[in-house]
Structure formats: structure tokens, C-alpha cells
Symmetry: C2
Subunit: 481 residues, 2 copies
């Protein structure tokens, strides 16, 4: 069957009315009548005129409506912070600083303002003053109405879109791997488990005893802690795959760096051009540079960086200036540097074969390097079974990317392709024969990494606590809505 060229013949041409952002992006030069809808951020009343700042959440700035005399008093009274309104008026160049345009509402010239949803400021939890992050976490259904959280949400979207574009340019296919899995992450107790289900639809009027609750899938089911193993199966079919997908950890952590539900960017690709870990570092750095450089000048990023954080921000920006690539040191070198830093009062003594503690990672990125640093080739005993053993037989071909003020942003490795070595390391693990078999049959060399998406948002925006880097955060003891 021949498929006719359809695109040109059918265009119903559907289009929503422009958002405030779309309206201003079109750089209108001639005055015209426009209608915008949104919420009142603030109102200033003067004798013959009132000014209402309106946002529809499409950008960080919103637009100012100039309400000339003649708007009825009842409507004016209802223009309170938070009220939903529809405004029709002339879009004109603005004489005020900080805005290119404003809307002049003049009833004599078809101007109009309609209140679509009132907001009683007496009882509305969101007030004009800056609320603390803690207070807003209790108002999670309202907090996207604040400029800070709405900027964060737009930044997330922008980062995600740039990531998608970048991976597409590199020949990757985005895939969806399962959330519910039989893999319990090696029984470390960090995986949420699904409860048993009541048995469904017992036959009506039957005399059969009710059966006890059972596993819905016939075996224990968990929420995934990482998509890596599943991605590996797809990478040995599609060559280059990635996913930006939810992951879950039942960690009791109450720090600002962990969530029980978070989004992770994970990529796996076959046939890497070099055999060690450096090709993965190259790709990771290329991805981050291209993605982050494209958002640095957005209004939302400017809103998010707090005043008084110039030095932290300069450190961040420095990573993207100049053409020098990011530092790389081996774990062994990193331990040596830490051991030599005798003047630093570490709580934990750095020692080869022991994990790097947060204080060590912090010192490496913030003090030794003063920027992002790839720490490579950790001892095999510290890392999971799937990482490729180096020729020294003591270390694995892996890296952690440490960045100032964040800690570990990305972790990646060459995957152990040699079925015999992998089998030995997996001795005693159950239900992983499939994972061996993707090596035994047409196994291709492949590599990959994972990046916590909220941590990326945190790095780029300066937001300190990742509970403010997602719309509706969940952590131990806390799940609103």
C-alpha cells in the first residue's frame, strides 16, 4: 500500500491563543488588541490608574496591565493577589524599565478585565512575602504558583528538552524500561516492594473458601532503583538508548540530597570508540556542556540563583567557560591527594580500599579542583558486579563525576562484557541468567551512566535542597497529595 504524502494536505491548523511568553516572544511592534489570562501577582492602585502584574506561568516575568479609570469598582476590589483574570486591552511598548510591553485596559477602547476566580487573601496560604521552603512544602498543591517553584518547573522542562535534542543528535533512541521489576537491587532493602493483592472477582455464590492475598505478578515485585540492567538489554539491540524516568529508594535519609522518588537520566550505548572509561567521561561532559550552556541565560535560572551566592555561582559558571576539559583523576590518585592534605580535619581518614565520604568528595571538587572532577577506576570491592574489571584486576573501569556543592552528579562505567568473569562475580545472585545471556549471544562491548535529574537541576539553579527541585517531593515520612 502506498502511503500518500499527507502532511501538506491536512492541517486543521489548531492553535490555542498565545501565552504571555508567546505574545512577548513575537516582539510585536504595532499596537493591537490582545487578550491574556492568568493570575494577579500584585496590584498597585493610584488615583486615576491601577497597575496589575499578571502571570500565566509561561515565563518568569509575566506582564503588567495598566487599568485606566473607568474599570468598575467591584472588579477593581476583586483584583487581589492570586485571583484568576482575563484581560483584554491594547498591547503597547512599555515606558517602564524591565518590561518590553504592557497591556492598557481602557473601557472606552474595548478594554476589559474579568475576574474568573476570586482569591480571598485573608485565608489564602500564599502571601506576597517570601515564604520559607519548609512552609511551602506543606502547601505543595499551591507552591507552583510562587515565582521560585514555577521557574524551577520551567527549568526542568528546558533541561529535559535540551537533553532530548542532544541525545537525538548523537543517534540515541529514548526508551521506557519497567518501573515494576523483579529485581530487588541485590536485597539491600532499598527497594520499595508492592503489597500483596486481594484475590479478584471471587465467583459469586461460590462455596469456595476465600484465598489469601497473593502476589499480583506471581512473584515479589519491587519499584526499580535504576533502569540500567534493562537498558543494557535494549542497548544490545538498538545500540544507543537512554531514558529519563522515575526511580525509587526506600531510604530513611532526611538530607537535602535524597528523595524517595526521583528522576534519573540513564544512558547505555554499545560499541564505544575507546576501551576504557574516558570515552564515557567525554560523552558525559559533552552532554552537560551542551545542555547546560543552553539554559544559562534563561530568566528562570536568573530568578533561581539567590542574591549573595555570587561565589558559588561563579564556581558553577567557571565549569562552562573556556575550552579546558574537566579534570580527571583516578581513585588511587584521589586517595593520595587526600592523604597528603594533612591539614584538613577529615572526620574519616582517607584510605585506599575505603569509600570516599561526602567530606572527601567535597574537598576534591571544591578545594583540590575547584570545579567538576571525574574520579575514575575505583577498587572493584567498592563497586557493583556489573562494572568491568581493569587489567590490574583490582580496580574497575568506572567514574563518579563530583561537582562542587552537589557531590556525585553522575556515575558510570564500562559494563563487564566477558560472560565468564561476570558469571563469577554474580555467583549466588538469582534470576539474572538473562543478564548473562545478553553477553553470551552477540554480546557487544557497552558502557553507560546514570545522572540524578534533580541534582542536575540543583547544580544549574543553585537550589540547595532537592525537595525544591521537583514538583511534589516524597521522602521518608512525607508524601502529600
Amino acid at each position: 500500500m502506498i502511503v500518500r504524502r499527507l502532511l501538506s494536505t491536512v492541517r486543521p491548523g489548531f492553535s490555542l491563543s498565545p501565552t504571555i511568553r508567546q505574545l512577548l516572544d513575537s516582539r510585536p511592534e504595532t499596537e493591537r488588541i490582545v487578550t491574556v489570562s492568568g493570575w494577579i501577582k500584585s496590584v498597585r492602585r493610584q488615583k486615576n490608574v491601577a497597575f496589575a502584574a499578571i502571570t500565566d506561568g509561561s515565563d518568569a516575568k509575566g506582564i503588567q496591565a495598566v487599568l485606566l479609570k473607568g474599570i468598575d469598582d467591584e472588579t477593581l476590589r476583586r483584583l487581589t493577589m492570586g485571583a484568576a483574570v482575563r484581560v483584554t486591552g491594547r498591547l503597547v511598548s512599555s515606558p517602564s524599565a524591565g518590561q518590553s510591553h504592557e497591556i492598557v485596559v481602557d473601557q472606552k477602547k474595548k478594554g476589559d478585565i474579568v475576574v474568573l476566580g476570586d482569591c480571598d487573601t485573608e485565608t489564602y496560604p500564599i502571601q506576597k512575602k517570601d515564604h520559607t521552603a519548609e512552609f511551602l512544602r506543606d502547601q505543595v498543591h499551591f507552591r507552583a504558583r510562587t515565582s521560585h517553584i514555577s521557574s524551577m518547573l520551567r527549568l526542568r522542562d528546558l533541561l529535559r528538552r535540551r537533553i532530548d535534542t542532544w541525545f537525538e543528535s548523537q543517534g540515541f533512541c529514548a526508551v521506557n524500561t519497567p518501573i515494576i521489576t523483579g529485581n530487588d537491587a541485590e536485597g539491600a532493602g532499598e527497594a520499595f516492594r508492592l503489597a500483596l493483592v486481594e484475590n479478584h472477582h471471587p465467583a459469586a455464590n461460590s462455596n469456595v473458601e476465600p484465598t489469601p492475598p497473593s502476589e499480583f505478578f506471581g512473584r515479589p515485585a519491587f519499584l526499580t532503583v535504576s533502569h540500567q540492567l534493562h537498558l543494557e538489554a535494549l542497548a544490545t539491540a538498538l545500540s544507543r538508548v537512554y531514558t529519563l524516568s522515575p526511580c525509587f529508594r526506600a531510604e530513611p535519609s532526611q538530607t537535602g540530597k535524597h528523595l524517595a522518588e526521583f528522576w534519573m537520566l540513564e544512558a547505555e550505548w554499545a560499541f564505544p570508540s575507546s576501551s576504557g572509561v574516558h570515552g564515557i567521561c567525554d560523552l558525559t561532559e559533552g552532554l552537560l556542556r551542551d545542555t547546560v550552556c543552553g539554559v544559562l541565560e534563561s530568566d528562570d535560572v536568573n530568578v533561581l540563583w539567590k542574591k549573595g551566592e555570587d561565589s558559588k555561582r561563579a564556581t558553577f559558571l567557571n565549569a562552562f567557560q573556556g575550552s579546558r576539559t574537566w579534570e580527571r583523576i583516578t581513585y588511587t590518585e584521589a586517595i593520595r591527594e587526600l592523604e597528603n592534605a594533612t591539614s584538613v580535619p577529615f572526620e574519616y581518614q582517607p584510605k585506599w580500599g575505603h569509600a570516599l565520604q561526602s567530606e572527601h568528595e567535597k574537598w576534591l571538587a571544591e578545594k583540590l579542583v575547584g570545579g567538576p572532577v571525574f574520579v575514575t577506576d575505583y577498587p572493584a570491592a567498592l563497586k557493583p558486579f556489573y562494572m568491568r574489571i581493569n587489567d590490574d584486576e583490582k580496580t574497575v573501569a568506572c567514574f563518579d563525576l563530583l561537582v562542587p556543592h552537589i557531590g556525585e552528579l553522575v556515575g558510570g562505567s564500562v559494563r563487564e562484557q566477558r560472560a565468564d568473569i561476570l558469571e563469577e562475580r554474580m555467583d549466588g545472585m538469582e534470576g539474572v541468567e538473562w543478564y548473562l545471556n545478553i553477553r553470551k549471544y552477540g554480546g557487544a562491548p557497552h558502557v553507560g551512566f546514570g545522572m540524578g535529574f534533580e541534582r542536575l537541576v540543583s547544580w544549574v539553579s543553585g537550589i540547595e535542597n532537592i525537595r525544591e527541585c521537583t514538583a511534589m517531593p516524597r521522602w521518608a515520612g512525607r508524601m502529600l497529595l
Copy 2:
């Protein structure tokens, strides 16, 4: 702080080597030496030459390597179906039909072929013959290596990208709403519940009795069945939001139309231009036309439509030809049509106030209309509390989009904005005060819809069972990997 223009100064210029698709898309005109990596699909040996079809999963076609005499016998022997290889040779225009280029491997001219991963065809579960869908479901870690499943995965990606582009053009922000929620979907028993967790890190050597397992979040937690309610909170802040996100239903269904884990496209937007349901239908149709028309000519879609399904495919294509918009009828009209179809032996008698059964939906889309049909304004008693009551006080402002061979593809509605009416309908529901409050404070009129992503893939590709519309399907009793 002034952020300098960075994009132009730092470009590490990272790039992976081109995939087969990228190589061929660049339409090379002069011969040159290239290297491609992938897996052998088939090998044909002749006296002085062998032909190996190679795919790297980047497109539906792959590329043919022509191996001239001189390749060593041991390598030739290892070129079995499924083996991973790296091939270097001259990329030349191909004299054969069905391919634009091929790679000529001639050892005298720096040609080279290296086996990176052997594949023992004796025991490899994937054979050259077509396997049944059922067989491949047992080989879920391998099945993306078949042309059918890999085409489906690329089609998913393509559809997703086009959906993203379309929503961006309409001023929408993509958001991530929670997977774990306190909302049990009105206790219908369809929501998976998380198991209690063991209490963490009991103090060492303490004499305190171990405490029993408890709720990790301090209250019952479920996997979301829909992101709608959370999206509504964000739509009353950002105006236009959508998500393509996992959803879960603990349904015992064993049909080809239901999965326990599936992806759903859900959108909510505030300030719709018209007050009834038709604005949502307009947007839905605009989205589907623009998204689907852009993929109809892809090789992957052609691979997926089976031979002998011309009539089913013609019905599908017909929806995108011409400029006539899709049919819309009210539920009341649909019941009248069904009642009048006295010659059709329905199992269930159609009757106003009763749900449309699958057989009714099928008849409406396939027989009455012969294409997609929006059925609007269902009786309030059949639909959830959040849909807006029409002025007749009997029906709600909602629609289901029914399409031939699929059934319900999209469902949407105007959301009840009037807090008093909503409160009445929610009488007795717990933990939903926040949902009322987003109306009470600056509540804006808003509307939305949900579309099963696997059903969309099924419609576009002709794949009958949605277990073949996702990489690693889960349903009652079945969860591999």
C-alpha cells in the same frame, strides 16, 4: 552578576561515530572508508564473495556488507546471525534494489571485519524465522533484536518526540507529577499499594523491642492510576501542563488492551477558549493529526503494518486524509443510533444511563462512522466526580474518542470549577481538601484529557496486542526481568 554568552565559546565538539542511519541520512556521494558496528541479521555466501546484512538498531533497514575474497575463513565462520561485528570498508552506491549504499570490505584496500561478540545459533533463542508474539514475550530481554520490536521502539520514540514538539508549540510545559501517591483512586481496588517497610537502622545494642513494619510515608501509599489531579494543581499555576508518564492498574485483565504498567499522555490547561467540551476535542484532534501525520511515512511504520491488513490500514489512514474534521456525537445521540440498529445482535442492550460496552464502541467507530468519533456529554452518574455538570444537570462536559480496532483512545473533560458543586459531589471522600482549595483560591476554568500511549502506538502501527507496544510488558501474573 552578568552571565556571559557562553554557547559560542565552549564547544568541546563531542560526537559519537555516526550510526548506520546517520551515515545513510547524510547521503554520501563520494566513496569513502567508513566503520560501522552492529549485529548480523543474515549472511549469504557465494564462491568469491559473501553478503552480510548488518543492523545497529538505528533504523529499519540496516546496511549490507559485501565481503570480497580474502576475508579469513575463521572470521567468515563466526559471522552468524546475532553476532556483534565491526566492519570497515568503502561505502559505495549500491547496485541492488532496496538500498542506497553498501559497504565493500576488501582486505587489499584496508577492509576489515572483526567479530566482537559471537552468537551460537544452535542455542540462540532468536532464529531467522518469524517467531510468534507469545514466544518472544518469554524472550523479552532479546526481543528488541527482532525487526518488529525494534521498529516499535523507534516508533514510540518518534511519536514521543513529535508530541513534545507539538505541546511546546502550544505553550505547554512538561512536568513530572508523583508516581507514589496517597490517592487510592477512590478505593476501587485498582491501585497497587506499597508494602510496609521494616524499620531501618535500629540502634545497635539497644534493648528496645524491634518495632513492627510500618508505612514508609506514615500513611498508605499507592502507585498512581492517573496524574490528572496533580496536573490540575500545576495547571492552576503554569496554565498549560502535560506529562507522558507511567501509570499502574492492578487489573486482572488478560486482554490485549490492558497492561498493569503503561504510559499515559495527560494534559491539563487553564483558560480554555470555549466553555464546553468542543475546545478539548479540537485540541485532541489537532495533536493527533499533527503527530501522526508526521510518522506515517516512516520505514518503521511500514515494517509494522502486516501484509493482508490493507483494509484496516486504509480505515486508519482515512482519518488523516482530507480536511474534514472527525465526527462528534453526544452520548444521547449515540444511544439513539445504537437503539435504532436493531439488526445488530448486541450482547448488551444499549440503554440511556448505561455504560457503552466494547461492542457498542466498536460499532460506533467501525460501522456507524468508519473512523474516529468523539462521543460527548455522558450521563453524570457514569463518570467521575471531577467532570463539569452541564446545564441539563444530567450530563457532564466530557468526551471519549473512539477509534476503529482500538476502542477508547482518549478521554477528557471540562473539570468542575465550581467549588460548591464539586464539594457536594465529593461528599465523603477523604484527603481531597487540597483539590477543593485549588478552586477556592484563584480557581481558573480548566480542562484536560488522558491518552494511553501504548494504544496510540497500536493504532498507528496496526500492532494488535499492546503487550507488543512496550519494551517489557507487565500484566497480571506476568513480570519478566
